[in-house]
Amino acid sequence: MQSDLLHPTDQELLLTADGELPSRRIAEVRAHLAACWECRTRMAEVEATIADFTRANRQQLDPQLTPIAGPRALLKARLAELAAAPAGGAWHRHLHLSFPVRMAVGVCAALIVAVIVGQFVFGYHLLPRTWNAAVSPERGVEPDRALTPGATRQVSVGTVCSMQHEEVVREVPTNLRQEVFQEYGIANARANDYEIDYLIAPGLGGTDDIRNLWPEPEGSKVWNSRVKDALEEQLHQMVCAGKIDLSTAQNDIATDWIAAYKKYFHTELPLAGRPDVLGLMEKSYSTLSQLVFVTGHGTRKSSFLAS
């Protein structure tokens, strides 16, 4: 056949090696390779480079992989809690905590009481700075309401709840970032200093409107973007489970997202932002560390408790 005489391109060789061409074309290329030493050599080079790259990639990253046993046990415990909770009722998960988590939470609560009593009785200033930050949120962690009152689109609960994960947590488009910085009068902002965040997340019907965007400082130790992400996910789940109205969720997060977090997570401190608290506990309670570090490789306790 005439086509057999035409040498396949490198792209076709790769597609053939990857099994991504239509089967008829793969058969033609293979027939050509059988007859053409030059192309067969080229194909061998393609295969050899793929093999070398894969090996190099593994050797670069595999030494960092930790044994699977710890993370498997952790995931299993977390899934068991989720499975025991009513579908979609994220908060209920916190009421069905496993024994190690209950112990950790219990000791944490005891420590909080002890520290507060210590402050009262002895006048000691024992609380880490982050705790004070929890009471008085750092500057900039909440948007200027005059500039960022929040903006939503007409959307039904069904639409919101059928959104894919990446739509729910999607990033702010690049072209809007500079506009937001200008609006807030922030000059020469470095990319890592702020996350341009939605006040009302897309997963709750928030839009790309500039009135719904603000520069969230990345350096905030307590009330930071990760904590807000957790709140967004919690509200999304609660809306989809019919626990609260979409409009209530939008209003609460737009009015004061920190207050909303405290309200819906029933806590004064972010569940995912307790490293200082747990760090303090770790020093004093080695047994707790053993309990909490069920993974044995240092998976952060904060996220363990947060779920």
Binding site: F53, T54, L61, R72, L79, H165, N224
Partner: protein
């Protein structure tokens, strides 16, 4: 050689929602099974963004918990492997940005990599591959991030369709990206 996916895996990953139960314990078993298969590939992929291993572990946990919720809400089961990597990709980017610790991918951690046991019995072959590996990783590090992601996802066994899904590209763009990267790797490899 790359661990290309088998048809059986594809059949399992692309399935009809109606054939699956929404029973939480069933979903739990299913998620644990997917965790066994994809935890290491996902962790490698997340680590390739330069996030610390502890953060990568958290991302991995978050992905599989999200998967549990995704399945519990009886959302699409089409291309679950692509879904796992797509959510992992998004979370890794967020984590990298939040950490403000972008690893300098032009200087990978050789001290760790060098300690990796090389099964090749021939010291000359080991040395030769070390040199090739150095060249390949140097080329990889200067590729555009999208090209790096395509290569790494392919090395983890994802098909072009799945890569396109993870990175939001067209199938044609994935093919062009991989061909372009491969050409550069082959030049580095003396091919």
């Amino acid at each position: 050689m790359p661990d290309y996916p088998t048809d059986s895996i594809n059949e399992m990953l692309v399935s009809d929602a109606a054939s699956f139960s929404a029973d939480p314990s069933e979903i739990e078993r299913e998620v644990m099974s997917l965790f066994e298969q994809f935890r290491n590939p996902l962790l490698r992929y997340v680590l390739s963004f330069g996030v610390p291993v502890q953060d990568a572990e958290e991302v991995s946990q978050e992905v599989f918990i999200s998967l549990f919720r995704h399945l519990q809400l009886q959302r699409s089961r089409e291309n679950l492997r692509g879904w796992i990597f797509r959510v992992g990709h998004n979370l890794a980017l967020k984590r990298r940005q939040a950490n403000q610790k972008v690893r300098d991918t032009t200087s990978p951690d050789w001290t760790v990599a060098e300690r990796q046991f090389d099964p090749s019995p021939d010291p000359e072959e080991q040395m030769s591959f070390k040199q090739r590996r150095t060249r390949l990783l140097a080329v990889l590090a200067v590729l555009p991030e999208e090209d790096q992601c395509c290569l790494r996802l392919r090395a983890e066994g994802l098909r072009y369709r799945e890569i396109a899904d993870v990175l939001g590209m067209s199938l044609g763009s994935v093919s062009i990206s991989l061909t372009r990267s491969l050409a550069r790797l082959m030049r580095a490899d003396g091919g």
